[in-house]
Amino acid sequence: MKTFAMLAILLIFVSCSSSRIDRKIDNAAWDSLADESYLRWGENRLKKTAKSEYEVVACYSGDASKTLNSFKKDYLVKNQTPYYWLHIGNCYFIQENWTKAEFFYRMTLEETKVKTIKSIALNNLGLIHFKYEQWEKGKEFLNEAIKNAPLLKVPRYNISQLYLQFGLFDKAIEVLNDSVFKGHKDIDVNFSLANAYLYKGDLKTSAQYFQLIPQDNFRREDIAATYALFLMKHGKTKEAKEVMDDRERSGVAELSAISQKIEKLIAQRMKEE
């Protein structure tokens, strides 16, 4: 019995632990980056997408191994197709096999002459380097990606995340206000701006951007944590607690640590109050 209990705990732990936040967006209207990334596509959207469009979609639906095998089998037929190597890399990325993902992104760079595809590979390599905490290198890849395809949104979004991470809020705001994002609604863009303004100390503007985020998304741990801090800044400790209590745990260690700090702070404030 004890063994079962241990096993169950272990399974929960394993299933919960992740390197990245799961942030599926079911409503395509709130995904301005949908044209460039399947990463935030919700299950319903993925299901609706014809797999023939891109095989990689299956990897996002949880069939990474199977899809990789399919790529392997279709090597002779597809290895010259533009996205072949890139999508293999993405499947490995989804499997969190960083070395293989990196390898195939580099293969993409070697094999393709299409600038946008190069840009995509560079973007993804940038993320991989963030995983290795090689921020400068990662930033170089992202800048290179932007240079290769200036109209792409995701590399710009990613670089904004780097700026936010390292306190370069104005830079982040500048990037996110780029013309490529104009006229689009996007949860993460809005959240990033809300975050930037919050950390910059501009609570008013931050509040405006928070208001643009659909309510359901406040359960996302990164948004919940940021919004809780926002509420704390407004002295709304109780509301902050509610937000934190209502959050969906991401399983990302770094984020969990921050959430714990916030919860501790909330507890302390409530005690003081």
Partner: protein, 955 residues
Amino acid sequence: MYKMIFVFLFMIFSSSVEANAPKALDRWTILMTLVSKEMKILENAKHKGSELKYRMLELHSERLKLIHEKNNKDFMEKSKVANVTKNKESFFKETREYYQYTKEFGSKLLKEHPDARRRSEVLFAIAINSRDYGLDNITEKYLLECISLVKDSHHSLRHHAETALADFYYNEKRFQDAISYYEKVITKTEDEWLPKHYFNISWCYLKVREFDKAIKAIRHAYVLSKDRTYVNIKDQVLDNVGSFYVYAGRPLEGLEFYLKNEKDPIPYLMPMAKKTSEKGHERETEAVLATAQKLIDKNDWFHYQEELFHSYLDFYRHYNRFADHEETSRMMVAYYKKADTDKKLKLKTDLKEDSIEKMRSLAGFLQVRVAKNMKENGGSFKEQEMNIVLNFFNHLIALDPTKKVEYLYFRGETYYSVRKFTEAAPAYIDCVNEAKLTKNEDLARKSLNSLLSLTAMEVIEKELNKKYLIFAYTEHVGIWPRDEKSEQIYPKLFEIYREAGLDEKASVVIRTFYKAYPEHLKDQQTLMTKVLDLFIDRKETKKLASWIHEFKSGFLTFSKETIEKTEITLGNMLFLEYQDLAKKGDKRSAANGFVSIYENQLYTDKVKGQAAFFASLTFLELSETEESYKWQLLAFERMTDEERMSKRDEQLKMSERTYKLQDFVTSFKLSSFFLQKFCSLKDEIQNRYYEVAVMTALVEENAEGAENIIRLHSNCLKKAESHELALNQMFSFYEKTGDFRRLRLHVYRYPSEEFTNQYRFTLQKWYWERSSLNLKELIKIEFKALKQPEVFVWLKEMDSFKHAEKILAELKIESIWDQLVFDGEAYNKALEKYLLRIQSFKQNYEHLTSSTQTDLAILSTRMFASLYKNVGEKINTIKPKGMDEQTYKEFNAAMKQVAGQFLGISSQFDKQLVKALKEKETLAWGSRAIASVEQIENPVFSFFTGLTMDKSREE
């Protein structure tokens, strides 16, 4: 007197014979001794009268007889072992000499005793001696003298002399003279030899063509022979009487005589038939033979049957009645067969050899005749005669199986002679087969030669002709593998088989040719090449493979190059099918096909190696990388060094393809394997293998594998760049994975300025970024060990910052004034003291804000901003105890001014820091640490909030 002596001598002779039981030769010696002893006694007589001398003449005659006997015996014995006819006289030299001596002795007696009483006896003795032992032809003369001396016609001596003279004339073929004396002789009816004299005179009459007298005389001799008074010469009479009738032209009377006088006349009928036949009485002969046959049949006298058959054969042969002859021969075959199978019948077979000879002879004769007719009559012949000939050979085969081969050959020759080639060929074949069994090389050769000349004429239907030619060639080389003609045949026979596509047989010819004529190796190789071409044309891979094995074991001593070329051709043929399948898309079947070739024991290592290689390639095309690897290794095992070398480019591509197919583990194995195997080559390919091996190991995060490659195989490289690249990759790998222990080891193991420099910056980054205190301590220890001036500075700064943080914490909690009673002077002193401490802190740690360690500079700047803010807030909010309200107002106003200065400085620090960070886009960990809300860092983290890209609208 002499009679008494003779009796005496005879008694002595008899007793001595009984006493000594002498042999035949001994008898001669004894008689000679007796004659000599008596002669000696007579010679010793002082007075020798005519009587004594006559006795001596008798003794001389007796001795002469013994000498002749002896000479004749010697002659006969010599005749048995050699042809001595020409030298016959030399054997009788002694006889002739003693005859001469005896004759002279007799003549002297006649001369010395002209009136001797025994003169007529002496003359008779001389005449008889001359007849029997002399060559002087004086018999007639002395017999006539003797007769003339004996006046009494009834005197026995005269009768003897007349008989002797009649015989003499008879022998001398002076038949009329003989008749005149025999007519006298036969008047002496008391002569027991009277039948004989009648017999002789009958012959004389016959010779002078007085047939009636002859028949009468001989029939009288037959009658007298029945009288016991006379010597019986019945047999002689019976043997001849038939002929007499024949000569007389009345053979049927002769037949009647025999039938009438003899119960079993058959022994006489057959010679008579022969004679009748000879004399041209065909019908009568047939009657005689038919009578004989009837008697045999009637009386079951089967013992005569064989002889009667012969009589028939002779008869038919004589009258050229070949069909009858053949028919009789057929019956004889049946007879001999019966004799052989039914022994109880005791059928005679004494004349079997003769029968064979007769059939043989006639068959031969007819065969020649048929052939002759064929030539002379412009190609026509009597079919019947040919059939008879052929039947004879069949009979002969039955009767004389030991010579079957000969008769079979004659059958062939018979057909050939009448241009019946279609029949001749199988006959020759039968003969060859029989000749092989009986080991008769002569006839085998003759038959084969005939068959060869026959086939050369091309007169038989083409396919049949070829069949016979093949037979002739095959048997010829089979019987005489090394022979002048066979030497010419091998290539021809080979060519026939080759043209017919009979590769196996063609191969056998080469094998036999090679065995018999190893000196013609080049020719045989040329022929073999043609066979191989045949296999290739027909895609008969198994056969080709089988021959390659043969060649490899030394057959026809083909060069290594030729064998290899053949193997390559074989491989190409074998692989073509599966390569086509692969091309058509059925790669699975293709792969299985290559595997099946490999697994087939028939094929050589070269083919198997190639098959395995193709299997490996095909599995790779099926994306089955592990299976591909397995077959790659199997291929390698089977390949020669040369083949391995030739495959290197492809092997490398396969290794690359393997990792492109996401199988880095197998690609690593493959690269490592080849890297090791071809280490000594040190070429570009080796460099590439090295790179692939290191790269694939690292992709699989198999650092140990990559390290092993570097450690063990860096000596396999042509260019050092790959090694350097690998070291950089290892460094980056450890750096990325944050593996301090391995990174350190790497730097120590491969010390270089680049690594050392990068190493210290990486450690510095880790020091500020990582939260592990243990790691921080390890980094500091490592910094000390590096003994690098700049790093020493860093170390000091780190320690200093740590100390500063501690002081800062103390300063932050330190109270400027905590006395219960306010004392202005004391307060000023306390404030001064506090501010002096702040100043001291600034002096001690201000340098940290300009540290080359970006994180430290940011953190320390932030530390000062924090300190000044703390000081400003502390001064701003101070409210000393015991101070009245008014004083406090003034005091507070003054303190606010001071505090404002500190807060301003703090804010300035912050602004400057933000500005600097923004300008330089500094991504140091320190900057993240200071960017906080409520001292909580940003939940946004570029890695896990960043997005991967999959596509683009811009494509």
